[in-house]
């Protein structure tokens, strides 16, 4: 990315983080750690990689993006609102009575391709979209962002096997690999290691990158598929709660509890970041 592009991505990431903090605080909801974890990936995806258009969110040749970790959906909503898919004012109605935006993402919101919330659903649907695109000879790509917890689900691995079997190289799985899940460290619950080798053995083309280095995110996604004839997986090494020191790597922030005082502290940290 050039300096201008990088600046755009950084500023967007900062805005997304602040929106998420405010939304979660106002709605008294949870999952902020999961939102912050992918807050650097989404701006690069939406401004540099995906073929999308805020004015026509359903345009037929758009790249499809499914957020399988729907619990972190506020980060996607904030990204979409900042890019003009829907008014920023909607973010004030997150998790509220009669609000437009629910805690898990819904396809009723412009720009949201698919509703999720229960893990293990995104990748199978992405496979179906990949199959349909291949059958119709269409060139758009299907991206699916999954979490550690997503990869505990058997249905995710059913889809991993099927995608490789059918050589769906229009399918890209992005892993927000923060190594924390609801009740602790993934290593202590279901150790996914070595995820790269696992996916390679399953016949996926796999690369890894720092999920908070936006240049690295761009570089790894700029030439897809990673290998012709294979689905691509990019494992982004991330930090749950990234950008707020007291949230980082603390699975407590999978849940709620953002007080007025902590919100002010968190926003101050995000704003001060370079």
């Amino acid at each position: 990315m050039n300096d201008e592009q990088l600046k755009t991505c950084r500023e967007l990431a900062k805005k997304v983080r602040i929106h998420c903090l405010k939304m979660v605080h106002k709605g008294k909801s949870g999952h902020i750690g999961s939102m912050l974890s992918m807050a650097d990936i989404l701006p690069v995806l939406y401004t540099q990689i995906l073929n999308t258009a805020p004015a026509s969110p359903k345009k037929p040749d758009r790249d499809r993006f499914i957020l399988s970790k729907g619990h972190g959906g506020a980060a996607l909503l904030a990204t979409l609102a900042e890019l003009g898919f829907f008014p920023l004012s909607w973010l004030d109605e997150y998790y509220c009575d009669n609000g437009k935006l629910s805690g898990h993402i819904s396809h009723h919101i412009p720009g949201v391709e698919f509703s999720t919330g229960s893990l293990g659903h995104g990748l199978p649907v992405a496979c179906g979209m990949a199959m349909a695109a291949k059958q119709a000879g269409k060139k758009h790509r299907i991206f699916c962002l999954v979490s550690d917890g997503d990869l505990d689900e058997g249905s995710s691995w059913e889809a991993v096997m099927l995608a490789a079997q059918h050589h769906w190289d229009n399918l890209v799985m992005l892993v927000d690999y923060n190594r924390l899940q609801a009740l602790g460290k993934s290593r202590d619950i279901i150790d996914l290691e070595s995820l790269k080798e696992k996916l390679e053995i399953f016949n996926w083309a796999v690369r890894e990158a720092d999920g908070h280095d936006q240049n690295a995110i761009f570089e790894v996604l700029r030439d897809l598929p990673l290998c012709n004839g294979k689905p691509s997986a990019v494992i982004f090494h991330t930090v749950k709660g990234k950008g707020v020191s007291f949230m980082e790597n603390n699975y407590k922030w999978h849940y709620g509890g953002l007080t007025d005082e902590l919100l002010a502290k968190a926003i101050k940290e995000v704003e001060a970041a370079k």
Partner: protein, 313 residues
């Protein structure tokens, strides 16, 4: 019946390039022609019903019509959340077809009995629930299902079921078919167990009890007018279904009667008791064992007619 379904689906798919078949390694002897004719619209996901349903939904989200197809509970209960969250919430054009509704695979045991499916499927918003009783209804309902834009659950039989209709029938989603008319009571049924209902009303006719016989092939939406007319015109209702008594076809009929102020009509549900079917036997034998036999229908109708005659004296 499964042969009739597959033949009809193939016929429609030859005209409609949007139709995909998404399988989970079930369909031997039936699905091969579709697979060979439309290799790019066919996929076997392996023994993985959750993925099958998710893939079907993804295919449908791209403007296609996806058919999932498997035995008994495999494409429904195994992947219920995919049906609920993915297919129904998105109102995706996915058709979920089971082979072997009820206890068609009787001897195989409860893993292969589909006896809670109607309750569960009809509880899902956006889902249409169809249960044909014979080949004629299977063909007509396959056409109706594929022409309908949205999720449908299709409870097909297995093989060799007797015909209840003498020729082709016309159906519509939300409709029903009257096979016989009578003034003394109405016997409603859905699915292949209807053969017992027909035998019963034929026996009852010999003793002077004339029954209306109605196939409620569209369990959801259900034909309200047919139910209310039956209550008003025949004064007694029996519902026969090859399904657990909790929440199935009988419950659907009862809901209409109560909601519409017709709950006073003498009424009896004939369904499987709320137990796991541990006995081993073929479908016809199992039906008799679990209260769905010809004699059970006869007894239920006789009871209604007897009570009415007693109270009118």
């Amino acid at each position: 019946m499964r042969k009739a379904f597959n033949k009809e689906l193939l016929k429609i798919a030859k005209k409609d390039p949007r139709i995909f078949m998404i399988l989970a390694d079930i369909g031997y002897g039936e699905i091969e022609e579709f697979a060979e004719t439309f290799p790019d619209r066919f996929i076997n996901c392996g023994v993985a019903e959750q993925n099958m349903t998710g893939v079907a939904c993804g295919v449908a989200m791209e403007g296609n019509i996806a058919v999932t197809y498997s035995i008994a509970n495999f494409p429904t209960l195994r992947c219920l959340e995919q049906i609920r969250n993915d297919v129904c919430y998105h109102d995706a054009n996915v058709k979920i077809v089971i082979i072997g509704g009820g206890m068609a695979y009787g001897e195989l045991g409860i893993s292969h009995h589909s006896t809670e499916d109607i309750t569960i499927m009809r509880a899902l918003p956006n889902m249409v629930v169809l249960a044909p009783c014979d080949k004629a209804e299977t063909v007509a309902l396959t056409d109706a299902m594929m022409a309908y834009d949205g999720p449908v659950y299709f409870r097909c039989g297995y093989k060799g079921e007797p015909d209840l209709h003498s020729g082709p029938v016309k159906v519509k989603i939300g409709g029903s078919l009257r096979l016989r008319d009578g003034k003394d009571a109405t016997v409603f049924f859905a699915g292949t167990v209807g053969i017992n209902a027909r035998k019963a009303v034929e026996e009852l006719a010999k003793e002077g009890i004339e029954c209306r016989l109605v196939s409620l092939y569209s369990v959801k939406p259900v034909d309200k007018q047919a139910i209310l007319r039956a209550a008003k015109e025949t004064g007694g209702i029996v519902v026969l279904e090859e399904h657990n008594i909790c929440g199935g076809v009988g419950s659907a009929v009862a809901e209409v009667l109560m909601d519409e102020g017709a709950g006073a009509v003498p009424f009896k549900r004939l369904a499987m008791p709320d137990v796991n079917a541990t006995k081993v036997g073929c479908q016809a034998w199992m039906r008799d064992q679990y209260g769905l036999g010809v004699k059970d229908v006869i007894a239920a109708v006789r009871e209604i007619v007897k009570n009415r005659r007693r109270s009118s004296k």
